[in-house]
């Protein structure tokens, strides 16, 4: 065993040691740097419009839909699968929700919009079981199952109303889309921000105390304080920006938009699911070594099916936000958004080789993708140019992933 202890960090620089002690993924840190560079660059290119409160508010709302689906895509890709159908699934669920809400149920009934959301979520579960079952129990590659699903569910979205756009949606429901009144105001935003910072402080303290109690190695105190300060600054900075974008013709700040709150809730739930539950542990184990997972007694097929069910529910949540924001259901909702979602997950450090990836990383990836798209709109680029750039960004992201994986060997 003597030879194994030679690779200590004697020759590593101080910087490398700090990074390692902080347990921040170097890749994550790299992405944050990339994001900052992109933001500064785009801000200069757009003459200061990009980093205005108004644009950042819109960017946050735009990121929600892709971000929510990307959290599920992380689990799918970590488990060595892929889901090409998310855009179409979101489309068909959105159409069903809009159709039920507008054409079938009385539009202004108080129970209408909650019931349609439940219906949409149920449809998401059923689609997840369908695709998950074929992938897990029938051994059809997820690539094929979801490629078929991509076509079939897009057709389904058309069939719901024969392609007709359904509008307008229920007034309360529209708030979920983050429109003019779709935010929680400055006071609540500040309260939430303070609560979030307190929770971060508490959980960091708890984690540290627990390691001390068990006598495990701990991170240096100063480093923990710096990390806390950075997180708190990001939270308060975000609240400040959202509060300083005013409603039209008034000086009333908007505060955090509802879709962003939904995204934050999804990120928290999905992060906990992937980090602290048996299920999450199994997803990563399956991705790291499917055979080992099976030999360890993990029911790989069941876990795989659950992953697709979760993806279906997340598509339903994304469909709710999209229909509420558009104030309509159209059968083109979510067209090609599977690419943005997959790109967000991969840019966010989810490895196509499986077994590695994080939910917060995917959100960062979603922000990067949306920032580029948003800035191109600001710069007056047409949809053709945007598609070219997004496609190239995806290829470069995978290239980077491959190079990173090779460099580790």
């Amino acid at each position: 065993m003597t030879d194994t202890n030679l690779n200590t960090d004697k020759q590593d620089s101080a910087f490398t040691r700090i990074i390692r002690a902080s347990e921040i993924d170097t890749r994550m840190l790299g992405m944050i740097v990339v994001l900052v560079v992109i933001w500064v660059g785009l801000n200069i290119a757009t003459g200061g419009i990009f980093l205005s409160a108004r644009n950042l508010y819109n960017l946050a709302v735009q990121t929600s839909v892709v971000g929510i689906m990307a959290t599920g895509m992380v689990l799918v890709i970590v488990a060595r699968h892929i889901d090409l159908s998310v855009g179409s699934v979101m489309g068909v669920i959105g159409m069903v929700i809009a159709w039920l809400q507008v054409d079938i149920f009385p539009l202004n009934a108080g129970w209408n919009w909650p019931l349609t959301i439940v219906c949409g979520a149920t449809l998401g579960v059923l689609i997840g079981i369908f695709q998950g079952w074929f992938t897990a129990y029938r051994g059809i590659p997820a690539f094929v199952v979801t490629l078929g699903g991509m076509l079939a569910f897009r057709g389904g979205a058309f069939l719901v109303t024969d392609g007709r756009t359904v509008a307008p949606m229920n007034k309360t429901y529209q708030l979920l889309g983050g429109g003019i009144d779709g935010s929680i105001g400055t006071t609540w935003s500040l309260i939430l921000g303070i609560m979030a910072v307190l929770i971060v402080a508490f959980s960091m303290y708890r984690g540290h105390a627990s390691r001390v109690k068990h006598g495990f190695p701990t991170k240096p105190i100063w480093l923990q304080i710096v990390m806390f300060a950075v997180i708190a600054a990001v939270i308060f900075g975000f609240v400040y920006i959202m509060n300083s974008y005013n409603k039209p013709r008034s000086d009333i700040g908007r505060g955090i938009p509802v879709p962003v709150l939904i995204l934050i809730a999804v990120v928290i739930v999905m992060t906990l699911l992937s980090r602290i539950t048996k299920f999450g542990r199994y997803v990563y184990a399956i991705g790291a070594n499917p055979e080992a997972a099976e030999l360890s007694g993990i029911d790989v097929k069941k876990v795989t099916t659950y992953i697709f069910v979760i993806m279906g529910v997340l598509c339903a949540i994304a469909a709710v936000i999209t229909t509420a924001r558009l104030n309509a259901g159209t059968n083109s909702m979510g067209v090609s958004s599977e690419l943005l979602v997959i790109a967000a997950a991969i840019i966010g450090g989810t490895s196509l080789a499986g077994g590695e990836g994080s939910i917060p990383g995917a959100i960062l990836g979603a922000i990067i993708m949306q920032s580029i798209e948003n800035a191109m709109v600001l710069l007056g680029a047409g949809s053709g140019e945007r598609m070219v750039v997004m496609g190239l960004v995806l290829i470069i992201a995978v290239w980077f992933d491959t190079a990173y994986q090779n460099s580790k060997k």
């Binding site: 065993m1 184990a285 080992a292 007694g297």
Partner: protein, 257 residues
């Protein structure tokens, strides 16, 4: 060792076909508590396949497994583990991107009442187990793909012994190890044997076999070509069985000489 005690494991008339190939054909073998039985043979002789049926990784076509005198129904790794059978696979079967503690408890995590992983408890237990196996092993929280072959082997062994195994299957446990680590695995094997654990050992290393085993079974082309007490055979006898499928001419049990 082969007195009238109930065997820990009896594998009776086990057969397994892959397509037209008889990977294992009508093989029977017993294992008693506190005994090390070597399973020997060429690559492709059916040793690993036989053991994988005991571990539940492969389903049995014909034959039965009896554990402690009762017929056992082993169809998957979970059921095998439930009978107290733990396996150290040749490939180690580790989830490479997870750390030592996650691998040790994989499939059997410690959770609280809400089904939430108790990471601290698992890390604590892992540190204890690893300390008994190798006091130098401290990088418990690193992913196992950043560890040396020896450390990975220690994780795989730790996983097998932590859950109070009664039967241990070791498939080439020292093949990838250096001399110091090999000694560690041998010492451990003898310690577990002394604790009354029954061990099936698949090995190519004749040194290991003669040092550790009480009995050996040699397999060739899926068939059992001989079972012996270790003191009745020499290396040359075993090599003759492995290569030719039969004993040298005029063989007699060596202990009778």
């Amino acid at each position: 060792m082969t007195d009238k005690k109930t065997p820990l494991i009896e594998m009776k008339n086990i057969s397994k076909r892959f397509g037209g190939v008889h990977a294992v054909e009508n093989v029977s073998i017993n294992l008693y508590p506190g005994e090390v039985v070597g399973i020997l043979g060429h690559n492709g002789a059916g040793k690993s396949t036989l053991m994988k049926m005991l571990s539940g990784a492969i389903e049995i076509d014909e034959g039965e497994i009896i554990v402690n005198g009762e017929k056992a129904n082993i169809r998957n790794p979970r059921e095998s583990r439930a009978y107290g059978i733990e396996t150290i696979y040749q490939t180690l079967a580790l989830a490479d991107t997870l750390d030592a503690s996650a691998n040790l408890f994989l499939g059997r995590e410690i959770t609280n009442a809400f089904g939430v992983l108790n990471e601290a408890q698992m890390e604590l237990e892992t540190r204890k187990v690893m300390k008994t196996l190798n006091p130098n092993f401290t990088n418990i929280t690193d992913p196992v793909n950043s560890m040396s072959g020896g450390q990975r082997q220690v994780v795989a062994i730790g996983r097998a012994i932590y859950f109070n195994a009664k039967t241990l299957v070791m498939d080439e446990p020292t093949a990838a190890l250096g001399p110091a680590e090999t000694t560690m695995v041998k010492d451990l094997t003898l310690r577990l044997k002394a604790e009354g654990i029954g061990i099936f050992l698949i090995s190519h290393d004749m040194g290991d076999v003669f040092e550790l085993c009480d009995r050996v079974m040699v397999m060739k082309n899926g068939k059992d070509v001989g079972k012996f007490n270790i003191e009745d055979v020499t290396r040359d006898d075993i090599l003759s069985l492995i290569i030719g499928g039969q004993l040298p001419e005029g063989w007699q049990p060596r202990s009778k000489k």
